[in-house]
Symmetry: C2
Subunit: 203 residues, 2 copies
DNA sequence: ATGTTAACTTATCGTCGTTAAGGAAGTTTT
DNA sequence: AAAACTTCCTTAACGACGATAAGTTAACAT
């Protein structure tokens, strides 16, 4: 049992090492050029070795997603702690989300390189533990606080949360993915959109 | 010259035929399973034949995009003609965009399967003719009308147009791409978001 | 010493986008 | 009418991909 533990400990260590290298490869080379073979080369192992630690490429991408979500989640919690006014908290949370996307375009793209149902079936998402789920729930809480405090209109919390979320995600996605388009200044767009959204749901 | 014309006419005809089959394959099989080889099989020609009519896969995807944008653009013009109140026109335009995305998820995905700069460099987009450009400009015009009529706040037209656009595109993209997530009712989200956006920019 | 297991390799499969080279048919030139 | 050229399409192949099968090596257990 002791040995088993030791082994699985090394195993987990190596897995995390691969993951770290994978994330770096993703960031430096971008999604389009990220391949299992290149990753194998980067860690100086043969390609099949990766498959001993990850079921397949999607599994690995999901793991990267979770790492990214974890990083986002941790910072979001710090932001929440910094503000007392619920509306101010929400504003900063929205702005931080956009900033995170702008600063980490490659990480952000991972989420959209995955299959539509990589997080499982519709019901499974809320049952399984995931940083993606945690991030949504904490964001939902912020919105709920605004409603409870009477600062935002009383309406279905999920509808409000999700409509806010998709709006800011749209900004990040579009500016990242459609670089041919003559976008206005990103930061201008960000503050205009967030202002508009909050104003739109103001009580 | 007459013969040349005849030839290029047939050539164009075949090209459009391939395009039509490609779009159908895209719709029925989805982006992930769309391959040049399958398309070749579908039109009963060998794979390299397609390359006589399209430079490469991206070129073909771009052509599909333009077809989709053309369809969207045509319908959008009809909607504009139907309403006189500028704000009402904008509302319907936003709702139609979302509806279009919901009803044509596969076509919509084409735009995001393309390389970031498939429409050329940043300056080229506005110079070259494209249905994507036309769609943006007509949408921008609607927004401009609302501002001019004093119904929406006076601010940079492009910033307002683009922030509205990315918000609704976010809704479509997220619901299409992240199907594991327990979204609220799509139509509820759509009307809530559009209401919020218009309210947010109201004068 | 022998059997067992884990970790890793090489070799390979099937698929993809794409290109090279060539052939068949029609068109133009002589 | 024969020869040369052009157009259109084919077969064959390249390199890269994700992934699997089968085999090797070394550590460990008995």
């Amino acid at each position: 049992m002791g040995i088993q533990q030791k082994r699985s400990k090394y195993r987990e260590e190596f897995r995390r090492e691969i993951l770290a290298e994978a994330r770096e490869l993703f960031i430096t080379e971008g999604y389009e050029k990220f391949t299992m073979r290149k990753l194998a080369g980067k860690i100086d192992y043969s390609p099949p070795t990766i498959y001993l630690y990850f079921k397949n490429k999607d599994d690995l991408l999901l793991a990267i997603c979770e790492e990214v979500a974890e990083q986002y989640f941790a910072n979001l919690k710090l932001i929440i702690a910094r503000y007392t006014d619920p509306l101010q908290t929400l504003r900063q949370a929205l702005l931080y989300f956009i900033e995170f996307g702008f600063n980490n375009p490659h990480q952000y793209k991972v989420f959209f390189s995955m299959k539509p149902d990589l997080y499982g079936k519709k019901e499974e998402f809320m049952e399984k533990e995931s940083m993606a789920k945690n991030s949504y729930l904490i964001f939902r809480e912020i919105v709920q606080d605004c409603i409870d405090a009477g600062r935002l209109r009383a309406m279905d919390t999920d509808v409000m949360t999700q409509s806010l979320a998709v709006a800011v995600q749209g900004l990040v996605l579009m500016t990242i993915y459609r670089q041919s388009f003559p976008w206005a200044d990103r930061n201008l767009l960000a503050s205009a959109l967030v202002d508009c959204l909050l104003r739109g749901y103001l009580k």
